[in-house]
Symmetry: D2
């Protein structure tokens, strides 16, 4: 039985704590830490059987009985906590992105060099049933050589403007999942990026220097071309689709819905909207990614999403931002750490 | 070039005249007859290049240059005109049903016995792209032995009550197409029928002794079970579906629509309603059935829908009516001519 | 926190034990009883934190700390255990069917008369997301008055012949869920039944006096007509669909699949088969039905599936069997307890 | 009755001749001209009732009874014949593209300046039922302001290499339809283009200086972003889809198929592949575009696809080619005539 400490008791920290308690075999949440932990959160933690509740994550790192930590704190703290945890010989599952700063990611990579701790990054969508089915079809050779990859990723609504300000920009905050998806579905790296974007949803987002709508085109190392289309607001809900087209055919996945119900009336033939947002849509992926993290520790195998998988989407996001700023295609090799 | 005479210049007669003119190879409409032909209809006929316009169909039968006739007059005249045409050595395409009266059908069969004219019945849905695809899958053995056949057939709106009164009842007027479809899809005959029906759409239909909603179950000679569900009024339009389920799987067809457009908004994900009614839905089948009739004359081959195919659905409809009246399963062998 | 005892540690007993442990709030499994409990099952029970493991279910009934029992034993024991549990003042969740014998069900009803225990029957499909969506659309008036109900229910493969022998026949064993579904979707009772059935999947099933393929037509108290089509073996998997058609339109649900992946190649455009069988397809419904049972105890409200809901499908199944045997429509009022 | 002369008796000329004969009201084909007209073609023309068959198109232009011409000859002759026809006061329907050379298009525009002849360009896909439905939803305001346009356009197989050599390149030959579609669906012009492309289908295409796979991103005058993905070879057939996403939702269309048949077996749930190629997929659009051309002549109204609509996609194609060559986004204003 693996003892896990959760660092950060916000929304995603709570999701992981419940998911581990109810769905992850061979692991339990032994401690949780958050500098601003509330009375309610403490009660919630106790109801899950988590008895060690701290304000300082270092208390978790000091606890000899803890085998691994999940870093669910704010993004700006991920790198420092990662390094502290690695030095304390705790296996680390770090929410995405590791950092908005490449130098910080480099430091985490350095810390890992002389260490045997497992380090997994929280790209949960890799463990979604639909995207797994796409990757399986690709890997099974059903579509032949990959020619074109298309990802549609649209949020149901733009985040609050205060969040947008500190988000690092749409590419680092939202598209980063789609950049990872391109790599996951193709098992290939991105070589060059061209992004066309604008602020079409909410002009205030432009005022704070960000965009809300974009199409990003990428050349991959395997010769394929990928394209992502993003919007911060799809009125019909959370739109999460992917297609991989190749020499023998195509595999495509569309949205999940609450039911298969189709209502036919004089107004038309109407099905349900996509599941509302990432917690509904990707809930099963959160327990699956941690289950595999736990397995890789117990079996001493490779983690399914390693630190390079954490780094690459940040590089692509930086290249995409540079492309928007300079209105030209940008090579990933131009982005230096 | 086959010269065709059309008997009856109502809606379906006009459909056939236009369809032959524009879409049927090796045939042309040389004459049309209707006792109540209007000035407008005469002009329309001339615009199609039909120069022989009669009020008496016998003028068509006398015309030596006419090779074949299409009987598109009212149902009660089908049998008599059929017999006259057969005796005049004209090939006959007769709209369905041949007659509501089994004795009359028998007389037509008698007339055909000593004749070499082709006689085809107008079960046009056999020539619809969707139902052809079902039959092909069945005949290709893709679903194995047939176990269950399901047909959904619902009109977009009930006909005028004056029409209902003379229609011969829903089974002879509407379900007759579905009875034929069961035979077409399975290449088997119906042995026994049980019908459950009621008047749920419009109580006035009940007042004139008819029903508007029914489920009819049938045992087939090949051992399969078939079920038809009918309604005179589907608020979302003309609902025409079929499924054949067997030992190796199932083939199913659904409705055609005007376009594949799907509109996703805050209200839901909405596609188009089915094509409105039989002229829109089955237009291509009208030219195809006549093309094959023309081919069978030119090539001297079997017609695709023969007089027995015209008789059987009438027998099934009579058995279904008897089943409703007596609330019991009825063998087809109980229906005597 | 409600303490639950599970009687019967077979497949469904285990499903409920795990489901309660991980997914049902305010309840825990405190004891389990099975006359043939194995070492493995005991270990499994302990791993779930179930420390009271008995061979005699009466030990559970004697335990004052137990509030409710789930009867998951073989069907022939359901009634007796139900009565014992009611007398022991335990709330009862009984797997379907209560009994194949109407006299036994009557006895359970008698036992309940002077009791205030809750008694719920395990028609889990009522709590499936798809069927809930159909009922919601119907109850919200989206389809108007109900005219036609259609249920397709086909198993992926026939059960072992030894099971068939003791199953009580396909109607009591398999169709019983569909009979309940008709009542659930329409909020109406069945008045008359006509069944057409045969043995098309496996002739050995016929040898033991059962059928494997059927179409059952029903008249409902609200005037609607319902039809169920059943097969013991659909080669493409577990086929579970429903449609309700009414004066304003139709609501339909189709199968769930493992993913939305569609693969387009030279061979065609292929999606996934339905989820394989009831454990995969209906897993979420098992925890939901027990959650609602627990809520009805805690809140002292009506159970969502009461003993009459348990009785009616058995009556319909008996009428359907009588209909097959006598080849005639059978009124439910003919089936006497 | 409008008399039409067809110039060019190749595949598309024949399609138009048959389509006008059978489906276009108020018009007939009075003459056809082709320098290499065969005996077979002459016989075919006569069977359609076309009695004036020339080798020199100027014979058509001299014929006073001819009101309009359809230019269906090879692309390099379109501009010269257009100018000759305009000068001969014939209304002109010119197949796309008017020319691969912007100077030639300019000359046609000059010739039109002092003329009152109608001049329509053959972008037939504008008259396809699916794309019309998209445009209608957009114009009806159902999706609000346009943010993102996505077009998938993939041929079932690459053309012969001899054709590729003279095609003007994939953008002018194939994507030109998609460039027009972007303008049609959005009623907006393209301002800037970035294209990423490669030769992934057949390396011989690269040898002759062309590409076979591309993703083209465009900024539109209305602020929206559009993206086209192209392949010369989709193994599953002719893939023709479009989506328009806006502030209130999305409208999307997918491929047409021969039937709605879905076959479910142990291998999966399989529907039909898209209709094979443009003649099957877009046949109805060919008669519709000419019908509207005829109407615009008779009613003296604007043609639905004018010479600027013919020019713009050529400009976009040139910009896309320049973008590929220089690996940078290219403004349409950089492309000079």
């Amino acid at each position: 039985m693996l003892n896990i400490g959760i660092i950060g008791a916000g929304r995603i920290g709570k999701v992981h704590a419940e998911s581990i308690t109810y769905h992850v075999k061979d692991a339990r949440v032994a401690a949780i830490a958050d500098p601003f932990i509330s009375e309610d959160t403490s009660l919630w933690a106790k109801s899950l059987g988590i008895h060690n509740i701290y304000t300082d994550y270092k208390d978790i790192l000091k606890d000899e009985s803890i085998h691994a930590v999940l870093i669910c704190s704010s993004t700006d703290t991920h790198a420092d906590i990662s390094i502290d945890a690695i030095r304390a010989h705790k296996h680390v599952f770090c929410e995405k992105p590791i950092s908005q700063d490449l130098g910080e990611i480099k430091e985490v990579m350095e810390a890992l060099k002389d260490s045997d701790v497992k380090y997994q990054v929280g790209f949960n969508r890799r463990f979604d049933h639909n995207f797994e089915a796409v990757r399986k079809a690709v890997n099974d050779g059903q579509i032949g050589d990959i020619h074109i990859v298309k990802i549609t990723s649209r949020d149901p609504d733009a985040p609050p403007i205060e969040y947008v300000k500190v988000s690092g920009g749409m590419f680092l905050d939202m598209t980063i999942h789609d950049f990872d998806m391109v790599r996951y579905l193709t098992s290939s790296d991105v070589v060059e990026v061209y992004a066309m974007g604008d602020c079409l949803v909410n002009p205030v987002i432009k005022d704070v220097g960000d965009i809300d709508t974009a199409i990003i085109t990428m050349k991959l190392a395997n010769g394929a071309i990928a394209v992502i289309d993003n919007s911060r607001k799809a009125d019909y809900g959370y739109d999460q689709r992917a297609e991989v087209f190749g020499s023998k055919g195509q595999v495509a996945v569309t949205n999940d819905t609450n039911s298969t119900a189709v209502i036919s009336t004089a107004s038309g033939v109407t099905g349900e909207k996509p599941l509302y947002f990432f917690l509904e849509r990707y809930m099963a992926s959160f327990s699956k990614e941690v289950s595999l993290f736990v397995r890789s520790i117990i079996d001493n195998t490779e983690v399914p999403v390693n630190i390079n998988d954490g780094l690459q989407p940040v590089l692509i996001a930086k290249a995409a931002k540079k492309s928007i700023d300079e209105n030209r295609p940008v090579l990933l090799s131009e982005i230096t750490m």
